[in-house]
């Protein structure tokens, strides 16, 4: 049997905007995924520990506070330290176009901004996790 995709949807830092995260969580659920929602005000350590304990395929971070240039790289770094190279890191929120390329360098594979459709997001996660699982199976 094919294991459903497990995604941690997280809100880190002081950012209290949780609508987008909840909408995305529901969208991924409706696309057949198992979504672990962390709630707001998580530290990067909590986000990464959650992903480990939940054996997540992916971590999706929602950030509307402007702290993305710190929180995304920090989470990416912790994930590397824990050897989570097979776990996808992506996200969305209010993130200026000019920051996105730098985030990608840090290992944030894709960033969705306001207006992104849930279908688009779900298709991306399915595809990106599928690719990673394929790689793991070949390795």
């Amino acid at each position: 049997m094919k294991r459903p995709i497990r995604v941690v949807v997280a809100k880190a830092g002081l950012d209290g905007h949780d609508r987008g995260a909840k909408v995305v969580a529901r969208g991924l659920r409706d696309a057949g995924m198992e979504v672990i929602y962390t709630g707001v005000h998580q530290t990067p350590e909590q986000v990464v520990e959650t992903a480990l304990q939940e054996d997540a395929d992916a971590v999706g971070l929602s950030l509307l506070s402007g702290a993305h240039n710190y929180l995304f790289p920090r989470i990416a770094e912790l994930m590397r330290e824990k050897g989570m190279d097979d776990v996808l890191l992506f996200g969305g929120g209010i993130i200026p176009e000019e920051d996105i390329a730098a985030l990608r360098e840090h290992g944030v594979e894709r960033v969705f901004t306001p207006g992104a459709s849930l279908e688009e997001i779900a298709a991306y996660v399915r595809d990106a996790v599928g690719r990673r699982r394929g790689q793991a199976a070949r390795a």
């Binding site: 969580a25 659920r29 959650t50």
Partner: protein, 264 residues
């Protein structure tokens, strides 16, 4: 131990409080929290963990969310095995939170030595949400949200319901008032759970439960294995045709099953 009860009753909040209480005396505590999968998409939002996140960086705490994946007893099919693994890994206490359970979600009794049933005040005069079936599996009855009005009445109603039924095991469930919000009553809850565990160890109830659980688990696996073997032998196509005949009312399901068994 298991924590069950109607949706939104405060199970996860209580589990988080219990985590803190058990960690004060045990080096390693684990939680397995089950939420329902959508029957249509198979997806799930696993939200129990939100209430426990303040314990997530404690190295002595492990929390794992599970989706029910179509299994209807209030747990996931593999929850019992996950509990076994966590036990084998050296967790002194494993707490299982069921999906918000109504009446038939009683499988938790097969994985837990002690079951706490969480209710809240104001569910209605006759506590409709707590039907007989689920009341029978309770070893401890928790009236949570006792910071709200009506807790005493609910406790009284529960006490009355208990006098109506007869105990299967000789254990009389204790009724404890708690507030997950304030932490009130948590110590009393832990003591009530301790008393039940001591009684279960002494009376032989613990062995009876593990024997019943083992039997149930082996039978369930055997059933699954038999069905798979049968499906393999018959082939998808034959089963599909048989189902189609039932769907179009050319045959009734009983005869179709008899035929399939005869063919296999």
């Amino acid at each position: 131990m298991g924590v069950t009860g109607p949706p939104g009753g405060g199970k996860s909040t209580l589990v988080s409080r219990l985590l803190a209480a058990y960690r004060a005396r045990s080096p390693r505590v684990a939680v397995v929290a089950v939420d329902p999968s959508s029957p249509f998409t198979g997806g799930a939002i696993l939200g129990d963990r939100i209430r426990m996140q303040d314990r997530s960086l404690d190295e002595g705490v492990f929390i794992r969310s599970m989706a029910s994946r179509g299994y209807t007893g209030g747990l996931a099919r593999t929850t019992a095995r996950v509990v076994n693994v966590l036990d084998a890994l050296g967790h002194d206490v494993v707490i299982v939170e069921t999906v918000g359970a109504g009446q038939e979600e009683v499988d938790v009794v097969r994985v837990a030595g002690t079951v706490a049933l969480v209710t809240v005040p104001g569910l209605g005069d006759d506590i409709q949400a707590i039907k007989a079936g689920i009341l029978e599996i309770a070893d401890v009855l928790v009236v949570n949200k006792a910071d709200r009005p009506g807790a005493d009445e609910t406790a009284r109603d529960l006490a009355q319901m208990l006098t109506l039924g007869s105990s299967r095991t000789g254990w009389k469930p204790e009724i404890v008032r708690t507030s997950g919000a304030t932490g009130e009553g948590i110590e009393a809850l832990v003591r009530a759970i301790d008393r039940h565990q001591a009684w279960a160890a002494e009376s032989g109830e613990r062995e009876r439960r593990s024997a019943a659980a083992a039997r149930e688990e082996v039978e369930a696996l055997l059933r699954d294995a038999l069905v798979h073997r049968l499906e393999d032998r018959l082939g998808e196509e034959r089963v599909r045709r048989a189902i189609a005949r039932v769907a179009t009312r050319q045959a009734d399901p009983y005869s179709v099953v008899e035929e399939l068994l005869a063919e296999s």
